[in-house]
């Protein structure tokens, strides 16, 4: 049997305390002069064996209560997973989740979940009889590696934390392939994970296939999951949701949209440090609640207008160091080019001005194009295509669809033609209007992300002032970004490939709406162009673990330079063509976990032993082994209490009044 707190076993001699007290009581008996000795002799002669047995049982119960209390405190790891295996497996597969979320520590603990998990595994391995072969499969590349010494897991360079996410099914598949190829005999698969749902993907079809294959193996495979759960210590994370560079009259600026999340809902300021070209600046952001999406602008000197670079945003160390940094890169501000396919000349003119109000300062331009002869080349450098009223032929529709699929943005206005369908995605409905005195008003819009996001200074766009007299709603599977009071969409987004199709249900026309005022239209067009310009950027942003993205690239930000798995750590890389930014995946900020029955279902009929992590302090009482130990302890308490009560009941007896 293995104990996680073996030092507490030194307390085992304490179980003799009840016996010692009993003996001491017997030894420290006082002499008592007694007259009615005859009755004492009679009593002792007739004192039943049951009475003596009861006393022995009480003593035994007291000893056992202490024994189980000490055992429970020492936290024995029972069962064939980390404890008393009778027969050793031939092979033990250790599936190590090294994802970013494993870097979090539980309340009161010093070690993070991965360190604690490895510690438990090594401790458990000590109690395994024989010398099984250890095969480690970590979450970085999912490759199976045989190791001679399980202590090798302590090597942080090889098995330390990363900024990646884990794919448990891929790791299991790797174990399966290894078992088939190497015929590893009677095996156990030990999975160390924080059970993050995005890593386990319980809805994946792979699970069923995998378990069927495991069941079909000739060799016996048993699965043991060491769930590194427990309440996390106070933690905050930061990431950049959007990053855009643009020129200004004084130089250029990088507009960063930050998302700060924290585990608690209490309002507090979190200092965010921005590092660009080794220049650091810090700003405090008040996070009231569990998350905050906020914009921040970094100003760059004019001399750097044509320079590329990279930077880092970070927050102070907390419960998980792996989510405290986020890298970004920038390049010279892209030119925002809007292409307008607008039937009405007035609206065309107005939209041209609105989409490029200051072309000299902000590198913006707009041009009119004909919709009947569009080809891919014409849209090559377009950041936003505006379609208003024109009929699109099949050839143009194909070109536009390709444009969107590659990451382009299209803003579609009503055509007035009922039932017209665009890109098999959106179908226009009937045109609706209200009388002279009435108007459609907007009720809700998304201010955190998208074209209606608040300004960097925190001001909302005046969408509440939009008054619509005519509208043509559309149907399709889109996300409404702003809606009228009756719930229908004012602006709806449809994702097509890597790009987006936006449908605005009213026209930039005084007969339709007051959008011509421009206070909403201009920033909306600008933001849609910014988003559409991303596809023109040479900077590649991807998630850690993406090895192919950094082939032939060299890390230029701080970080491990020699690691064989460069992509496992976040940072900025550069190859001959571009900058590549690797950050932890969004999935690692997801706090849903696979638990209990759901986990059992994944493994189906395959033997599964779920061992909850034995963390420090509070968490230590959550281990499953506690339950039986505490039940047994409580049981002995009850028996002792019952026996003592019976003894007391005897004591409460007295001579009846009739005798006296």
């Amino acid at each position: 049997m293995t104990f996680l707190e073996p030092l507490l076993l030194w307390g085992l001699p304490l179980i003799s305390i009840p016996v010692i007290i009993h003996l001491m009581n017997r030894m420290r008996h006082k002499p008592k002069k007694w007259a009615a000795m005859e009755f004492l002799f009679m009593a002792k002669r007739s004192s039943t064996k049951i009475s003596n047995l009861r006393n022995i049982l009480i003593l035994l119960c007291r000893c056992l209560v202490i024994l189980f209390f000490i055992l429970a405190l020492a936290r024995p790891l029972a069962g064939s997973f980390l404890g008393w295996s009778v027969t050793a497996p031939d092979t033990i597969y250790v599936l190590l989740d090294r994802s970013a979320s494993m870097g979090s520590v539980t309340v009161g603990a010093e070690k993070n979940r991965l360190e604690k998990g490895i510690e438990n595994i090594i401790e458990a391995a000590k109690s395994i009889p024989g010398t099984p072969q250890y095969v480690v499969i970590d979450s970085i590349d999912g490759k199976a590696r045989s190791i001679n010494d399980i202590n090798l897991l302590k090597d942080e360079l090889l098995f330390g934390l990363t900024h990646t996410q884990a794919d448990i099914t891929a790791m299991l598949n790797s174990a399966l392939m290894y078992a088939i190829d190497n015929k590893t005999g009677n095996s156990e698969v030990w999975i160390v994970s924080d059970m993050q749902k995005t890593n386990w993907q319980p809805s994946s079809e792979n699970w069923k296939k995998l378990m069927t294959q495991f069941n079909g193996l000739d060799q016996k495979m048993a699965f043991k999951v060491l769930s590194m759960g427990g309440e996390s210590a106070e933690n905050a994370s930061i990431k950049i949701v959007e990053n855009f560079r643009r020129n200004t009259p004084d130089g250029s600026e990088i507009q960063l949209t930050l998302e700060i999340r924290k585990s608690d809902a209490e309002a507090r300021e979190i200092p965010v440090t921005f590092s660009v070209n080794e220049v650091e600046s810090t700003k405090n952001f008040l996070v009231d609640g569990q998350s905050l999406t906020v914009q921040h602008t970094l100003l760059l000197e004019k001399s750097l207008n044509e320079e590329s670079g990279f930077g880092l945003v970070s927050i102070p160390a907390d419960g998980n160091l792996q989510d405290n940094e986020f890298h970004f890169a920038f390049e010279p501000a892209p030119e925002l080019k809007a292409s307008l396919a607008v039937k009405d000349s007035n609206r065309n003119e107005f939209l041209q001005i609105a989409s490029a109000p200051a072309p000299e300062v902000f590198k913006q331009s707009s041009k009119s194009i004909k919709a009947d002869s569009l080809n891919k080349k014409q849209l090559q450098d377009t950041s936003l295509l505006v379609i208003d009223g024109v009929e699109i032929n099949e050839k143009s529709e194909t070109a536009i669809k390709e444009f969107i699929e590659e990451g382009g943005n299209v803003l579609l206005f009503p055509s007035g033609r009922n039932g017209e369908t665009y890109f098999n995605t959106v179908t226009l409905g009937e045109t609706e209007s209200v009388d002279q005195k009435s108007q459609y008003r907007l009720a809700r819009w998304d201010e955190d992300l998208g074209p209606f996001v608040k300004s960097p200074s925190g001001e909302s766009l005046p969408l509440k002032n939009i008054a619509v007299k005519q509208r043509q709603t559309a149907s399709g599977k889109g996300q409404i970004l702003a809606n009228y009071e009756d719930g229908t969409g004012f602006l709806t987004r449809y994702n097509i490939g890597n790009g987006q199709l936006y449908y605005c249900s009213t026209l930039v026309d005084n007969n339709w709406s007051n959008l011509v005022r421009g206070s909403v239209l201009v920033p909306m067009l600008h933001r849609l162009q910014k988003e559409g310009a991303k596809r023109l950027s040479s900077i590649k942003e991807t998630s850690c673990g993406d090895n192919t993205a950094i082939e032939n690239a060299k890390r230029i930000s701080n970080g491990p330079q020699t690691s064989a798995k460069q992509s496992a750590a976040a940072g900025v890389f550069q190859n001959e063509e571009s900058l590549i930014v690797l950050n932890r995946p969004d999935n690692e900020d997801n706090f849903a976990y696979v638990e209990g029955e759901e986990l059992q279902k994944l493994f189906g009929a395959v033997s599964l032993n779920l061992q909850e992590a034995v963390q420090r302090e509070d968490d230590s009482f959550k281990t499953k082994l506690w339950t039986p130990l505490m039940i047994i302890l409580f049981l002995f308490f009850l028996i002792e209490g019952w026996l003592t009560k019976r003894q007391k009941a005897v004591k409460d007896n007295a001579l009846p009044e009739t005798v006296l």
Binding site: R26, P31, K32, K33, L655
Partner: protein, 297 residues
């Protein structure tokens, strides 16, 4: 002179307002306040009977003769004094001492008090104090001097050794010629049957037997929480026991003994009085005297 602990003048004074009445008819050499089985001269009319030669002619009722022309003699109840034998057990078990004092002191107080009451009312009182080693006896007399000699014996005698109650009671039963009041003060921790036979001997001789059964509260409750080495007060033998484990059995045995002894004593028409030390001597004696008076009427 040192005041003896068992002499409580205030108690004596309070008890003196009461008398100790004999329950049975008494034979006594002197006339007194207690009924005698003999007819004698007193103011209590008993019966008429025919004159037989030899009768005192002064007892002939001449009025009856005038009416019936026959000689009738008027007989009256004889009243005699009471002879009381106080039997005090001085065995080692009587030296048992609980929180309310020792049984022996309690017993001496009962003996002294009864002696005082009887002497005050002109009856005779004697004392038999005994254990296996010592036997002190003073015959019944009625005088203050005699009472003081009883007090002297009560003062010097110690509770020690084994009891010899059965033998002493048999001897006493054999030695008392006339009906008397026998007051036995003891814890009666002896084999029950021989002891009851001895008591029966006294009852058979038509003595008015009163038993003061001295028991301490500790003996009936046996409420101890720790092991004790119980030392036999009559023999010095010891027994190590945990009272919590044998309490039930002890109480069963002790309760059975008390019940049997009481029932058998009452069956022999004896005046059985359980004397709990914690209830005090005065209440016990006052109740005893009051019930005697009420029983006498």
């Amino acid at each position: 002179m040192k005041t003896k602990e068992f002499i409580d003048p205030e108690l004596f004074a309070r008890l003196s307002r009461l008398n100790l009445e004999a329950k049975n008819l008494m034979h006594g050499p002197f006339s007194g306040r207690h009924k005698s089985p003999n007819k004698g001269s007193s103011i209590e009319f008993a019966e008429y009977r025919k004159y037989v030669p030899g009768d005192d002619i002064r007892k002939i009722d001449w009025r009856i003769y005038a009416r019936s022309d026959r000689y009738y003699v008027k007989e009256f109840e004889a009243e005699t004094n009471l002879r009381c034998y106080i039997v005090l057990d001085c065995s080692g078990s009587m030296s048992f001492e609980g929180k309310d004092g020792s049984k022996f002191d309690f017993g001496r107080k009962i003996a002294a008090s009864i002696g005082h009451v009887l002497t005050e009312q002109g009856d005779t009182v004697g004392l038999t104090a005994f254990n296996s080693r010592t036997f002190k006896q003073v015959p019944p007399r009625s005088s203050g001097k005699h009472l003081r000699s009883i007090y002297e014996i009560l003062d010097v005698i110690k509770a020690d050794g084994k009891t010899a109650i059965a033998k002493v009671l048999h001897d006493l039963a054999a030695s008392i010629q006339k009906r008397a009041l026998v007051v036995v003060i003891s814890d009666f921790f002896h084999d029950v049957e021989p002891m009851l036979k001895a008591l029966q001997h006294l009852a058979h001789n038509k003595h008015d037997v009163t038993l003061f059964h001295l028991i301490d509260e500790e003996e009936v409750k046996f409420d101890f929480n720790q092991p004790y080495s119980f030392v036999d007060l009559e023999g010095g033998s010891t027994m190590l026991a945990d009272p919590t484990t044998i309490r039930n059995q002890y109480l069963q045995a002790f309760g059975g003994y008390l019940k049997t002894f009481k029932e058998r004593a009452l069956k022999m028409n004896m005046d059985y009085r359980l004397a709990m030390l914690n209830e005090g001597c005065e209440d016990l004696l006052a109740k005893f005297l009051m019930e005697r008076i009420e029983g006498g009427k």
